[in-house]
C-alpha cells in the first residue's frame, strides 16, 4: 500500500545523504550495466553491496517495503522463468530485479531531485536536459500514490476483483493511471510555465556539492566490479576461495567439537 514511500527522499543526514549526487548517479549507471551482464556470483556480491549501502543510509526498512510492493510481479515472472529456463536462471532473473529495485530505492531515498539536476547542471549540462531526471523522479511517488489510490477506489467500487489471479478490470485501472499521469504532467507543465522556466539561460544554483569518502569508495568498488566482470570474470574464484575458507573453518570446528 505504501510502496511509493520507498521512493521519496528519506530526509536523513547519513554519509550517503551528504554524498555527491553525480557520483551516486554514476554508481547507479555502473550497477545497471553490471546487473545486465553479471552471473549469479556477481549478483550475490551486488546484493550484499546494496544492502550495506541501505544500512549505511538507514533505509533498510524501505527495501522490505519495496519487496512487499513487487512480490506479485516477481512471482509471475519467476514462475514463467522457472518453466522456461529452470531453477538457477530463475534465481538469477529474480536477483537482477531485486538488485535494480534496491539500488534505485537507495538512490532515490538519499538524493533529492533538485540536488540531482543542479549537480548535473554544474557539470555543464543544459537545464532542459537536467530537468528531465528531476521531473521524472518527482513524478514517480505521485504516480505510484495515484495508482494505489486508483486500485483501492476501484476495489471499493467493485470494479476490480483482487482475489483473482489476474485481477478483473486491470485495463480500467491502467486507463485511470494513464489519465491521472497526463493530468499530473499538465499541472507540472503549468507550474514550470508559471515559474518562467526557460525564459533565461542563467539559473540559480543553491547547493554547494562536496565529495566525501563514501562517494570515492562506492564508485571505486563499482568500477572494479565492472572491470572484473568485463575483462577477468574472477569473482567466481574469490567466492570459491571464500567458501573454501569457510568450509575449512567449519571442518576444523567440527573436528574440535567431536
Amino acid at each position: 500500500m505504501e510502496l511509493y514511500r520507498a521512493f521519496i527522499p528519506s530526509g536523513k543526514k547519513t554519509i550517503l545523504h551528504r554524498g555527491n549526487p553525480v557520483f551516486k548517479l554514476m554508481g547507479l549507471v555502473l550497477v545497471t550495466i553490471a546487473v545486465s551482464l553479471s552471473n549469479i556470483y556477481y549478483l550475490v556480491f551486488l546484493t550484499l553491496l546494496v544492502i550495506i549501502e541501505a544500512k549505511l543510509a538507514d533505509v533498510t526498512r524501505r527495501l522490505i517495503k519495496a519487496i512487499k510492493g513487487i512480490y506479485i510481479p516477481i512471482l509471475i515472472i519467476g514462475s514463467i522463468s522457472f518453466v522456461l529456463y529452470g531453477f538457477w536462471r530463475t534465481i538469477e532473473i529474480i536477483m537482477r530485479i531485486f538488485v535494480m529495485v534496491f539500488t534505485v530505492v537507495v538512490f532515490l531515498s538519499t538524493t533529492t531531485p533538485v540536488e540531482l539536476s543542479q549537480s548535473l547542471e554544474k557539470l555543464g549540462l543544459p537545464a532542459s536536459i537536467t530537468m528531465i531526471p528531476e521531473l521524472s523522479i518527482k513524478l514517480i511517488p505521485f504516480m505510484i500514490a495515484d495508482s494505489q489510490n486508483a486500485i483501492n477506489a476501484l476495489i471499493l467500487r467493485g470494479e476490480i476483483k483482487p482475489r483473482r489471479f489476474i485481477p478483473k478490470g486491470i485495463t480500467k485501472m491502467l486507463a485511470i493511471i494513464i489519465l491521472s499521469s497526463l493530468k499530473r504532467a499538465e499541472l507540472l507543465a503549468e507550474a514550470l510555465a508559471a515559474k518562467f522556466f526557460g525564459a533565461s539561460h542563467k539559473r540559480t544554483i543553491l547547493y554547494d556539492f562536496t565529495i566525501n569518502i563514501y562517494d570515492v569508495l562506492q564508485l571505486l568498488i563499482k568500477i572494479l566490479i565492472l572491470v572484473d566482470l568485463l575483462f577477468f570474470g574472477s569473482l567466481r574464484y574469490y567466492f570459491l576461495f571464500l567458501l573454501n575458507i569457510v568450509y575449512r573453518i567449519l571442518l576444523f570446528l567440527l573436528s574440535y567439537v567431536l
Binding site: M1, K65, N149, L154, L156, R163, L179
Partner: protein, 264 residues
C-alpha cells in the same frame, strides 16, 4: 456503524499521525475538522481500508476490518484527487457503472436532474474541470448506494453553486447513510449532525456543531476566535438572536458574507 478502538497510526517516520483514536460514528452527516496536518485524511483512509492501523482496530457494522475486501459494497470513498475514483470514459457511463456495481436502486436521471448536472453527462472525464471532476466523483460515490460514504476535502475547487449541490446530495442521503467528510470548510461542517475536531493526531472535541464551534480551543486552533468575538459583540446590536451567541448556521452565514467563496 463505524467504531475505531485505540487506533494509532504512523507512516514510515517515527511521528504518530493519529494517537489513540476512540470514536463511534453512526448514520447521518459527520464532519471531521481540524488544522492542516491534524490527521483528518489519514483517519478517513483508515476507515476506508486504504490504510491499516499501526495499533488498534477499525470495526464496521461490528466486524473488524482487516483488508479492503471486507469493505466492498459497504464503503464508497472519494479521495482528495477524485479523478482516480472515476472509470469513465464519459460521465453518463461512469454513473451507469456505479449504479450497476452493487445493483443500486437509484434512478440516475432523477439525481442528475435534481443536481442540475445534465449538461455534464456526455462529457469525457478527461475534459472536466477540477470542480466538475469532484462533483461527478462525489455523485458517482452516492450512486453506488453503499451505507458509508467518505469524502476527503469535498469542497476544494467547488464554487458556491456546486457547494450547494453537494449539500443537497448530502441532505438527500444522510438519513440512512453514514456520510463522513474531512474538511477545512467550516460552512459545510456547520451543517453536519456531528463534528469531530482533530488536532495533532488526537480527537480534542466531538459532538454537535455548536458544542465544537463555540469551544475557545477550537476557535483558537482554526483561527476564528477574532471573528467569533466580533460576531458576539455585534450580535446583540444586530438583533439576530436574543442570545448573545450566534447559532452555527448563522455563524456560517456571517463567514459566508465575510469571505465570499473563499475557504475559511
Amino acid at each position: 456503524m463505524i467504531e475505531l478502538k485505540n487506533v494509532w497510526f504512523r507512516y514510515s517516520t517515527n511521528r504518530w499521525v493519529l494517537k489513540n483514536i476512540n470514536v463511534r460514528i453512526r448514520e447521518g452527516f459527520t464532519a471531521i475538522v481540524g488544522p492542516n496536518g491534524a490527521g483528518k485524511s489519514t483517519l478517513l483512509k483508515l476507515i476506508s481500508g486504504f490504510l491499516k492501523p499501526t495499533k488498534g482496530q477499525v470495526y464496521v457494522r461490528g466486524k473488524p476490518i482487516n483488508s479492503l475486501n471486507d469493505l466492498v459494497g459497504l464503503v464508497a470513498f472519494v479521495p482528495s484527487t477524485p479523478i482516480v475514483s472515476l472509470i469513465g470514459p464519459t460521465v453518463s457511463m461512469d454513473f451507469q457503472k456505479a449504479v450497476k456495481s452493487f445493483n443500486s436502486k437509484f434512478d440516475t436521471k432523477e439525481i442528475v436532474s435534481k443536481l442540475d448536472i445534465t449538461h455534464l453527462l456526455s462529457r469525457k472525464i478527461f475534459h472536466l474541470s477540477e470542480g466538475e471532476t469532484r462533483l461527478v466523483s462525489i455523485t458517482s460515490a452516492f450512486l453506488l448506494d453503499t451505507p458509508i460514504i467518505l469524502l476527503d476535502e469535498p469542497t476544494v475547487g467547488l464554487d458556491k453553486v456546486f457547494r450547494r449541490k453537494l449539500l443537497e446530495l448530502i441532505n438527500m442521503f444522510s438519513l440512512n447513510k453514514a456520510i463522513i467528510i474531512a474538511t477545512n470548510d467550516l460552512r459545510l461542517a456547520s451543517r453536519a449532525k456531528n463534528v469531530i475536531f482533530l488536532e495533532d493526531g488526537s480527537i480534542r472535541l466531538a459532538g454537535s456543531p455548536s458544542h465544537v464551534f463555540y469551544n475557545p480551543m477550537f476557535q483558537r486552533s482554526v483561527g476564528i476566535s477574532d471573528i467569533v468575538a466580533f460576531c458576539t459583540k455585534v450580535d446583540p446590536i444586530m438583533k439576530i438572536n436574543s442570545r448573545s451567541l450566534l447559532t452555527p448556521d448563522q455563524l456560517a452565514l456571517v463567514l459566508d458574507k465575510m469571505f465570499g467563496d473563499q475557504q475559511c
